[in-house]
């Protein structure tokens, strides 16, 4: 009798993370937008003395990170679902949690990479101060921010029924949120808008990254409020996504059949 032992979930999770990360990195257009555009915006924000503010560095890095973790990830997830790819995976012995977790982890890794490239350019071109502590702090912020955006994007996919509507829906939500959160420059007025932004996932990401870049010895590395807000978005995003997530494409055929029979 041949060995019928199934491979371990951990083994399959690693395999899936590698696969999902490879698919994301192979998407040239998404990489140009997620990595190239923030760098261009960073360069154009430099003043006449060749200096960029730490707020600008943090804002551009978060911009690249969230483009990947929200738009690229969310739109691709809807496309994979509507192409039947998720349905195919669901029918295999791969634990569903593995597929789900791998997509979010791979997206988080690639998003952190996108944010890190912007910071690296700032360090190389504009001598932005970077120590091991600051790098570690940025890593914590970027991981949490990317996970928060990816979890929220996963939750949103259940409400998007077609590939054609995925881009408009994700982009229409994305740009107002990141603009009021100061990705392209600080907005302090009106006050209620600033308060609202503090509880959305973009502003705490930028604020936390800025705080880390300005880190002074003895002060907390990452502001607690920002960490709590981002962690809450991870939890809420997953709590909404897990029960509502759709593995199968929408079924217009059956609906048409039902209507025609009625």
């Amino acid at each position: 009798m041949p060995d019928q032992t199934l491979p371990s979930a951990a083994e399959l999770l690693l395999l899936q993370i590698r696969y999902q990360a490879r698919l994301l990195l192979a998407n040239g257009r998404a990489m140009v937008i997620g990595v190239g555009l923030p760098v261009i915006l960073l360069i154009t924000s430099a003043n006449s003395h060749g200096h960029v503010s730490r707020t600008s560095v943090a804002g551009r890095a978060v911009f690249g990170l969230t483009l990947t973790a929200w738009n690229t990830y969310g739109i691709r997830l809807v496309a994979a679902r509507e192409a039947g790819i998720l349905k195919r995976w669901r029918a295999t012995p791969l634990p569903r949690s593995c597929y789900f977790a791998a997509r979010i982890i791979a997206t988080t890794l690639v998003s952190v990479l996108a944010g890190a490239v912007t910071v690296a350019v700032a360090v190389l071109l504009y001598h932005t101060h970077l120590t091991v502590d600051i790098a570690l702090g940025l890593l914590i912020v970027f991981v949490l921010a990317a996970a928060a955006w990816a979890a929220a994007a996963t939750a949103l996919t259940a409400a998007v029924s077609t590939v054609e509507s995925a881009s408009p829906v994700f982009i229409l939500i994305y740009f107002p949120v990141v603009i009021i959160s100061g990705v392209l420059g600080t907005i302090n007025e009106p006050g209620w808008l600033h308060t609202l932004a503090r509880y959305l996932p973009a502003e705490p990401s930028i604020h936390a990254a800025t705080s880390v870049l300005r880190h002074a010895p003895g002060a907390p590395l990452v502001p607690t409020h920002d960490l709590i807000v981002l962690a809450a978005w991870v939890v809420v995003g997953l709590a909404v996504a897990l029960p509502t997530f759709r593995w199968e494409p929408h079924r217009p055929v059956q609906r048409r059949a039902a209507r025609s029979a009625a």
Partner: protein, 308 residues
């Protein structure tokens, strides 16, 4: 042992019953083709058997397990090919197979399966650059890579050219020789005739017949003699006993008879006297397609062509 047990299966979408009280069993190792016109309920039935759709009522057991409750171990014993291709276009054929193979306890070696689906030469090509037929074969490869005990194939050769269809058939035959059970939906009668041990015909969500291809063919009536008569002048010269067998278009002679010798004798005697070329003459039993179309109440393709 039965690999598939379906009892009084029904699926409703609102007031519309896509599948209505279907019952059948499939013994292990058998290849069953499910035929039926569009909207007959083939795919809906298959999706319930695969566990994607919950039945409105009725019971299903696949390899002894209710599909909606099947865990990892059960899914490792089941292979499927969906109605439409569902592959990541950015991966190569080899990468795709290497991704799915580790999910199973005893996967087929990737090189073996590449050979089986005749894609060894395209192993390093991205899936998105392959033809539709090649992509369909990659789909099939994923379906069988885990050596499934049961394989569900939902119209696996739709849109393929004849050569690609034959290659797909060969891969399916290879699987059945190894003892797998296969449930196949198809629009192609020749596919069912070539592959199936048994044919289930669905129409309007119900089973119209459940039989062997030979028995289904036998329901198509007596053997037939068919002779195209493209020249209407020839048809006008037919003796009354043969003219009675002209079809509605008047361009084909179709004699249905249990006494083929007598029918042929009469026809060849007349053709000899009229110096008629018999190059288009066909003699044989009713085709499976004729029997199937008669069963679901549609005109045969020959009649459709002549009506057009």
């Amino acid at each position: 042992m039965d690999a598939v047990v379906v009892e009084d299966l029904t699926k409703r979408f609102g007031d519309f019953a896509a599948v209505d009280g279907v019952s059948f069993t499939v013994p292990a190792g058998q290849l069953v083709a499910v035929l039926g016109p569009n909207g007959a309920g083939k795919t809906t039935t298959l999706e319930m058997l695969e566990g994607f759709l919950a039945p409105s009522s009725g019971t299903i057991r696949i390899l002894g397990q209710e599909p909606r409750r099947g865990g990892r171990a059960w899914r490792a014993r089941v292979g499927l090919v969906l109605q439409s291709t569902s592959l990541d276009p950015e991966l190569t054929v080899r990468e795709t197979l290497e991704l799915y193979a580790p999910l199973y306890p005893q996967p087929r070696p990737v090189d073996e399966i590449l050979e089986l689906i005749d894609l060894t030469d395209d192993a390093e090509s991205k899936v998105g650059t392959l033809s539709g037929g090649q992509q369909r074969r990659v789909d099939l490869a994923i379906g069988i890579i885990g050596r499934p005990e049961i394989l569900f194939l939902d119209e696996p050769t739709t849109g393929l050219d004849p050569e690609a269809r034959r290659r797909t058939w060969a891969a399916v035959e290879n699987l059945t020789e190894e003892g797998s059970t296969v449930l196949l939906t198809t629009h192609y009668i020749d596919e069912a005739e070539r592959l199936a041990d048994r044919v289930i015909v669905l129409a309007g969500g119900r089973i119209v017949t459940d039989t062997t291809p030979a028995e289904l063919r036998a329901t198509g009536g007596p053997p037939r003699i068919r002779l195209p008569l493209p020249d209407p002048a020839r048809a006008a010269q037919l003796p009354p006993s043969l003219a009675a067998h002209l079809d509605e278009s008047g361009r084909e002679l179709l004699i249905r008879t249990d006494d083929l010798a007598a029918g042929l004798r009469e026809l060849t005697t007349w053709a000899d006297a009229e110096h008629l070329d018999l190059a288009g003459l066909e003699v044989g039993p009713p085709s499976l397609e004729d029997a199937y179309l008669a069963l679901i109440g549609e005109p045969s393709t020959t009649e459709e062509t002549h009506d057009a």
